[in-house]
């Protein structure tokens, strides 16, 4: 029998089985859809969080605050010195007056807080942009920062890498929890699909006996059940992807500009990731069918 004919037969039989036992098939499809939806949601959040971290890493900087009495000439000198260090992309010297002005522009309602002082209320600083390619960790970075801390002009160093590192750990935790949760849920989905396929095979036991009697090969008998599991998984994957898309659109429509939309769900999953979800569903369904019909189960 040609492959094409065989495939057509397998899919037709699987389709008929799905339709005839649509209630139990729906149960299997929904189980896998829920698993993949939760998995997809974790993937969506962790991906967006990771790309946010990456974006912020690109803007990563170290701010060195100087003591109030530091003269502006020293600020320029220190800026020139900082620019020579490896892995430094840019150095912007911010005078105390410029810092106050920036504060007033960013927070106009609080501008009175920094006005009317005899001395400048905010310290001068060096805003040092770091090369994102080294994630701010060029060779000798720690020693270089330590040397700055000991300088008499320096009062405080604010290092972005610290909180970005914590955020990256949070992303890894989200991803790990997601993978563990999805593994558990997929296990349950595989079990459901296996039970549904076994039930279908049981209902068709007499028919299978007749098939064997007239000389059908094992592959010919089993393949429609494998395809049935595969289809259940793929339909579950499609449903999960559709629900994720709908949920993403809904949340964006309601919470535009919120933390959610700007950080956690800025972009939807890529085509490859959606394809991965659907394929994962198909693979889980196929696996469930193979497990349910192993050895003498048929």
């Amino acid at each position: 029998m040609s492959l094409l004919k065989a495939l057509r037969y397998f899919f037709r039989e699987a389709g008929v089985n799905l339709l005839r036992g649509w209630k139990v098939s729906l149960l299997a499809v929904l189980t896998i859809a829920v698993s993949l939806f939760i998995g997809g949601a974790f993937l969506l959040v962790s991906d967006n969080l990771e790309s946010s971290v990456e974006r912020w890493r690109g803007e990563m900087r170290v701010v060195i605050y100087l003591k109030p009495e530091t003269p502006e000439a020293d600020l320029r000198r220190l800026a020139a010195e900082a620019a020579r260090a490896p892995g430094v992309r840019s150095v912007e010297p911010v005078t105390a007056a410029a810092a106050r002005k920036r504060f007033q522009e960013v927070f106009p309602s609080l501008s009175n807080l920094v006005a009317g002082w005899q001395e400048e209320p905010l310290p001068a600083s060096l805003e040092i942009g770091l090369d994102p390619r080294t994630a701010g960790n060029a060779p000798g970075r720690e020693a270089w920062l330590a040397s700055w801390r000991t300088r008499p002009e320096v009062s405080l160093i604010d290092d972005d890498r610290e909180w970005l590192g914590q955020l990256a750990t949070a992303v890894a935790v989200v991803r790990t929890v997601g993978v563990a949760l999805v593994a558990g849920l997929l296990g349950a989905a595989i079990f459901t699909i296996a039970s549904v396929i076994r039930l279908t095979a049981y209902l068709h036991a007499e028919e299978i006996g007749i098939m064997r009697l007239v000389g059908a090969t094992e592959l010919y008998i089993r393949a429609p059940f494998y395809v049935e599991g595969l289809l259940q998984g793929v339909i579950g994957g499609l449903l999960a992807s559709g629900a994720l898309w709908a949920g993403y659109q809904l949340l964006h429509a309601r919470g535009g500009g919120s933390l959610f939309s700007s950080v956690l769900a800025l972009d939807f999953l890529g085509a490859q990731q959606v394809a991965f979800l659907i394929l994962l569903g198909g693979a889980a369904g196929l696996f469930g069918a193979v497990v349910s019909l192993r050895r003498e189960a048929l």
Binding site: M1, K5, G209, I210, L213, V214, G215, T217, E218
Partner: protein, 256 residues
């Protein structure tokens, strides 16, 4: 064609279904297998198409040791053997055409050829007009004829029937038996299990008798009424007497 050498079958409880059975069926023979219920008829038949394997002894079908055939090759053995059961074993959700053409479909025969084969097989059993019906729509006799058509579609070397008329009334039984005899006339080896001694007496042929798993008798019988079941005789139309026109009277002579 079919050879049994000291074949025994014992079930786990120690009960023997067959005990040292030895016989040889040449190609083209028609054989009745008879015996009381539980004598081992079904077990013996199931061994021929490797649904059961003997505990000891050898079975050769067309020169091949059936017990030694690997699992993956069993379908190829079964494609050379047609099997008919008392309960027909048709797939209720498939049409008669689909039931009959299941094997050609498995073998990848194209649809046109399947239709041709189905038509030929169903015409042999007189059901060519029921291609699109479903089994539950047919009478018991018709269902059994469909099962026979399914068994014959691949032109098997051997036709095995296990109590094929057990569920049918005498007239239908006679009709089915006539079909088997016709199939045998075309060269197919037929083994028919039955405990209907009356039919065996009337038809004759070789009779293997099992008793508690042992081959108690192997004899050739001369039928007492073979023409009644002769398929060739049956093909001649039986016209009711009232429909036969009376001979025309000779023309009356007219007075000149």
């Amino acid at each position: 064609m079919i050879q049994f050498f000291h074949v025994s079958k014992k079930y786990p409880g120690g009960q023997a279904a067959l005990d040292e059975v030895t016989f040889d069926i040449p190609r083209g023979q028609f054989v009745f297998l008879t015996g009381a219920s539980g004598a081992g008829k079904t077990t013996l038949l199931r061994m021929i198409f490797r649904e059961e394997v003997p505990t000891s002894g050898q079975i050769l079908v067309n020169g091949r040791n059936v017990s030694a055939i690997p699992r993956s090759k069993i379908p190829y053995l079964r494609r050379t053997i047609g099997v008919v059961f008392q309960d027909f074993r048709l797939i209720a959700r498939k049409t008669i055409f689909e039931n009959v053409t299941y094997l050609p479909q498995v073998l990848g025969v194209d649809l046109q050829e399947q239709k041709k084969l189905a038509y030929q097989a169903l015409r042999r059993v007189g059901l060519a007009h029921r291609l699109n019906a479903f089994p539950p729509e047919l009478s018991g006799g018709e269902q059994q004829r469909v099962a026979i058509a399914r068994a014959l579609i691949n032109d098997p070397d051997i036709l095995i029937a296990d109590e094929p008329t057990g569920n049918l009334d005498p007239d239908l039984s006679r009709e089915i038996l006539r079909l088997f005899l016709e199939v045998n006339l075309r060269g197919t080896t037929v083994i028919l299990a039955t405990h209907d001694r009356d039919t065996i007496q009337r038809v004759g042929r070789r009779v293997l008798t099992l008793d508690h798993g042992r081959l108690a008798n192997d004899q050739e019988l001369i039928g007492t009424d073979p023409p009644a079941l002769d398929p060739l005789a049956a093909e001649a139309p039986q016209v009711p007497e009232e429909l036969i026109p009376a001979p025309e009277p000779p023309p009356e002579e007219t007075a000149g």
